[in-house]
Symmetry: C2
Subunit: 743 residues, 2 copies
């Protein structure tokens, strides 16, 4: 489901390319001896990886549409389970029952100035073998849109994010009672109908503009990878920033007999009907929009002048869904640890797709399967992991992280105790390594990334990622690529199955993938196919194997380490960075508010407007107060002391114990609060969350940051204290771990 991975950043200039080999003499969490053994194990693991397996499995699993509830989805589940079983894993299917609406009626027509009915149909291409499987394909739609039948004038709202509505307001365009048309991009798609409904719109159409995903980006399919004129991006519009998973069973596993709320009470369904369309379908609608010309940043790549609309055209949007409940099946496969079986290293990738899903998710799924097979090979030759390894092939990710969320909710108690780390992957392709995750694992992942060669350049995937930052990064990223010891890993928002682990239960998580040289344009369409993927995604599956190596090494090191390789100095530095960011955010808002108010009161803002165009003068905003960030700063100062103390102690006392491991991995739990975030208690992590108005996009220190963004200074002050308490609790946990070292 995740569209693009955040890219890792940068690194120390005293780097491997200059001073020799990249791997440290001793791996984090290992002794000198155990490092040698682990190095040999990883070499053996690497040597058994075979790209042909990835190719064969992808070809098989993507050969037919396999969305949830479909026959082929179950067949894939059984196939994956049979493989895991054959390799020796303790494997089962775990079933949940989830709400899954599918289209009964999809109608969009322009009713004025002329009558015109949209096609709403992706077309078969002879160059794409599976594109003609019409009978089994889910039609293009947005899952968890409500039913609706509305006729109203159309308004173009750009990306449909809150700032776009600010612009509409300034330009005197009211979307009340209107249908909005938004282009994909700029936010996660579910934000668009949510914000539209908040502003009084009665319907929402989302289309793929060729500027963002079509000929402007590159040649279209089948000549190139990009979306052709009839391609449509399906996708969920469930309000996942509230809670993911089955809409009817928030917080509990959607087992057969789980207590369910009524559909009409499900908060995560949209408030208005919403449908995605292609740019071929969007063109006649957009061409007929009246009103003023939109600002430059709103313009797409269709050969028209983009207008706001207001009265013309009028559009009729009618949607009816079958509100069915279907079964989903997670494949769960375990290899029990020899020494610390109650410490789980969980490795997951979803397996369901919108249609054939070669890239999303099969490219990641097959890499994971190959890891599992190679680890099983190691086990056959006598090795056993010290800790338990759990592989998970999730179902229902596309609709809203259904499979992972229900499983996590169902097993919350056990996972809270046992889950040490969750490692997620999703789509994967040719290009650069990207890692997101908990910053307690940042240093560890830098070591892992240095142990895997890049298939194209032969330098390590870490070095190539570093070069990317040094050459193409932001000014900060460029500087850090030269100055900082470790590449930064991105904080996690949402968009794939790490969310319930990290943000609901506080399980340290990772999300890993390659990309950037794999084109784009097949996302959630019928063209996300084996033909497309093997032409543009990762033709030789070399990056699939690279992913197997990165995640395999990650899993094996976590499973085998003498002590789990958590490290706190990078986290402390990162938290300090976030604290600086939110502080600066208020400073910037204060300056901006002062400037805007001055522009209004001086009459200058009015003076520069073109009097022949509508412009609604904004009102002055109340000044931004100075906020007390001291509790946050104090907690970070205390954290730094605790981290230094732990590091100093760990240097002289080499202890390996289950208790120490548990103390280490439970530090992530300390970053959660059972009260959750304001207005969304399912999200319990105080440092990482998807943005309430960005969707997948992360908000770090979300309680503080979103209160500031919403100009709620009282809540900002409260949330500063909350986050400070959480960081204090983390420091306490680290102190406890330090005590375990000297016991």
């Amino acid at each position: 489901m995740l569209k693009s991975l955040g890219r890792v950043l940068s690194v120390l200039f005293i780097c491997s390319t200059i001073f020799g080999q990249s791997t440290s003499p001793v791996m984090l969490g290992f002794s000198s001896d155990s490092t040698s053994a682990q190095t040999a194990l990883e070499a053996k693991f690497d040597s058994s990886l075979n790209p042909n397996n990835l190719r064969d499995w992808m070809k098989r699993m993507s050969s037919r549409p396999h969305h949830i509830g479909s026959a082929y989805n179950k067949e894939n589940a059984d196939f994956i389970a049979s493989q895991f079983r054959a390799w020796g894993y303790d494997t089962k299917l775990e079933e949940f029952q989830v709400l899954f609406p599918t289209p009964k009626t999809r109608l969009v027509e322009m009713t004025a100035p002329e009558k015109f009915k949209l096609e709403l149909q992706e077309t078969e291409m002879k160059e794409d073998a599976t594109s003609g499987q019409l009978r089994e394909q889910l039609p293009s739609y947005n899952a968890y849109s409500i039913d609706g039948d509305v006729t109203a004038p159309l308004v173009y709202v750009n990306y449909g994010v809150p700032s776009d509505y600010d612009e509409l307001e300034r330009r005197g365009v009211d979307v009340h009672g209107k249908i909005v048309i938004s282009r994909y991009g700029g936010s996660w798609r579910g934000i668009k109908p949510k914000v539209a409904a908040e502003h009084g719109a009665v319907g929402c159409i989302i289309y793929s503009d060729p500027r963002n995903d079509g000929y402007y980006q590159g040649d279209v399919y089948p000549k190139g990878s990009w979306r052709s004129e009839n391609g449509v991006q399906r996708g969920s519009v469930m309000d996942m920033p509230l809670y993911p998973g089955d809409p009817l069973t928030k917080g509990i596993g959607a087992s057969k007999n789980a207590k369910r709320i009524e559909i009409k009470n499900a908060e995560t369904l949209t408030k208005i009907p919403v449908l995605p369309i292609s740019y071929a379908d969007a063109l006649p609608l957009l061409r007929n929009l009246d009103g003023a010309v939109v600002p430059e940043s709103w313009r797409g790549a269709l050969p028209i002048t983009y207008h706001f609309g207001n009265k013309t055209p009028t559009v009729h949007l009618k949607l009816e869904f079958n509100w069915n409940t279907v079964s989903i099946y997670d494949v769960i496969a375990k290899m029990t640890g020899s020494e610390r079986p109650d410490q789980w290293i969980i490795r997951g990738n979803h397996r369901d797709a919108w249609v054939n899903g070669a890239d999303d998710p099969t490219s990641g799924q097959v890499a994971m399967m190959e890891e599992a097979r190679a680890i099983a090979e190691l086990a056959k030759s006598g090795w056993r992991p010290k800790r338990t390894i759990v592989f998970a092939a999730w179902d229902g990710e596309e609709e809203g992280l259904l499979g992972s969320t229900e499983w996590v909710e169902e097993h919350a108690e056990e996972l809270s105790k046992k889950a040490a780390v969750y490692i997620n992957t999703d789509s994967n392709g040719r290009g650069f390594l990207g890692i997101g995750g908990s910053h307690t694992l940042e240093k560890f992942m830098n070591e892992v990334a240095k142990s895997v060669p890049d298939p194209q350049t032969k330098i390590s995937v870490w070095e190539r990622a570093r070069a990317e930052q040094a050459i193409n990064g932001s000014p900060t990223a460029k500087r850090e690529a030269m100055d900082r010891a470790d590449l930064r890993i991105s904080p996690l928002g949402s968009g794939s199955d790490f969310t319930p682990f990290l943000q609901h239960l506080g399980i340290a998580s990772l999300n890993v993938g390659f990309g950037g040289e794999d084109g784009g344009g097949s996302y959630h369409s019928i063209y996300d196919s084996y033909d497309h993927y093997t032409k543009f995604g990762d033709p030789g599956f070399a990056y699939g194997i690279a992913l197997s190596k990165v995640c395999g090494h990650t899993t094996l090191r976590l499973a085998n380490a003498d002590t789990l390789p958590f490290e706190f100095s990078n986290l402390a530095e990162t938290l300090n960075g976030y604290a600086t960011e939110v502080t600066k955010l208020t400073d910037t808002m204060r300056d901006d508010t002062r400037t805007l108010n001055q522009q209004i009161s001086s009459g200058m803002l009015k003076a520069v407007q073109d009097p022949t165009e509508t412009y609604v003068m904004p009102t002055e905003k109340s000044a931004v107060p100075f906020v007390n960030f001291a509790p946050l700063q104090n907690s970070i100062a205390r954290l730094n002391d605790s981290v230094k103390n732990y590091q100093a102690t760990a240097k002289v006392r080499k202890v390996s114990s289950a208790a120490l491991d548990e103390a280490l991995y439970k530090t992530e739990r300390a970053l959660t609060r059972s009260e959750g975030l304001p207005r969304r208690d399912w999200f319990r992590h105080a440092i990482y969350a998807p943005g309430f108005y960005t969707g997948y996009g992360v908000k770090t220190m979300p309680g503080i940051r979103e209160a500031i963004e919403q100009r709620d200074w009282k809540e900002a002050g409260e949330q500063i204290r909350v986050v400070a308490e959480v960081i204090d609790a983390l420091a306490t946990e680290i102190d406890k771990a330090a005590e375990l070292l000297v016991k």
Copy 2:
């Protein structure tokens, strides 16, 4: 000819809107008494201005095509002259004979992958009354292209500026022997064939991309103002940065018997054939380009994926011209000064057009005529200017500033003595005041701008321009809008008739106009018509009248002032700013060179390239040395002393004398050198010049700046000394003026 005026910048926060009226109690160059008289005179002048005159004259003069050599061009000259005569001016036509090629053959065809012949024809529109005058219209072409007949593969070169060829080189695309296609924009058009020829191309096609000038910008004509699919931008491609004016009579007036060089020796003709086309004509060519996809900054708004090209398509370009000599006619009208008749205030606007030219140049021409009429009215009631006022309606500006350049060259000796200030206008439209010019007149023009109300907002045009900077300017402009006493006026490059005055003879010059709310898209096409202008340009001619006021007040104050209102502190500050810029330029280049060399030597630059795409690794550049800017800094320090001394003396000694006036206006002469700039001796001004590789775009301290840009450190050092000497000479002239104050 000039496409857009540089916008003025900003101003003191202690401004008129807050503390009361904006005009100083005493005007610069006037006493308290003479200020009162002048204020009354300007009020009388303003009250006699009549927008209906502008409308009537525009309707008449734009009713038929009137390019040089055409019957209607001569008719307009006679009409204008008859008006000036009727108003009482001493009026004559001055005739020159100039080289003027017109098309005999224009052929562009795609020869492979399929045969396709381009239309090369703008189409009649029923909404535009003059668009069907096919018989009298100049076909779309670029004047001073050489003849040529070439067939070759096509390569897309973006804007065709030097940095675009750097990109082509990195991507392994060689334009040697190819025809290039460039979009308009990014530079003056004449740069495109010049740089293409330098890189070995054999032909050049220039087209208007809808991104820059078409539906991406706004609705196309006739619904909106913007260029429709068949619109073509004509224009000169003469190498004006070498020298403007008749190509055969560099430096001398092109009188009938002037000594002429042979056409084949004319340096300012292009080296390769070049033709402009519409985006409808460009589309099939661009659609067929092969090769890699171009970078994002190269992409236009046509509904295609933009490629570099290399082998496909092949194009046949055939151009033949009639290399005729035609007569041009400047209308020169004088009102002799009562006290200082040998001090001339010259006010000019061209009158020739590419086709009907309602906007370019008639909108400025009619405003100037109305000024002349209103000044004549004042004279009828007994008033006479102290100094001589000269009005000039230039011919042949479009082809290369022919009329103004030949007149200036013909009368160079007299002008060097007598010309105090030249005030230029060109196209004008609804919007914001823009002023470019000599910085010795910056403070004066700020006063003038405060004396004219904006037609739409009723605040002064100065205040509206300031608001525009404060709201929409660059960060620097925004800051200065609040902090600096005066709005900055832009340094002058080229693109209109000020060039020979300022840059050849060192006559302090101004260029004034309104714009920014007048749309665009008719530039140099058959749609630059009365219908287009009165719908989009300045429907009620209110900004025509505003221009009459700004330029009328400017002319009247310069003509009447006790002492010419030159002021040197703003110039000194501006020169210091330029010195800082060129110093920083070397620092930036040094850092960039160091970074690039490091990226190459570390292998990082290579590591981030997609190995499936062509990328030619750049070679390391030699390090940028530290350059001795001390002579420049010392000269500016000395200048500051001279300016302070002059100001202190002027404060206590109020002297009015012809000798002082002459000393003041000849300070601009001190900024010129008879040797001219390196490799282009016609351009004699050491501070302002059009860029050798930008065309119209200004390069300040051009000798220094362009040497640095070309990495010629030896020449940079030499030019620093040259500019320092020029600034020293200026200081000496200011010292002399100060002496005249105490005599």
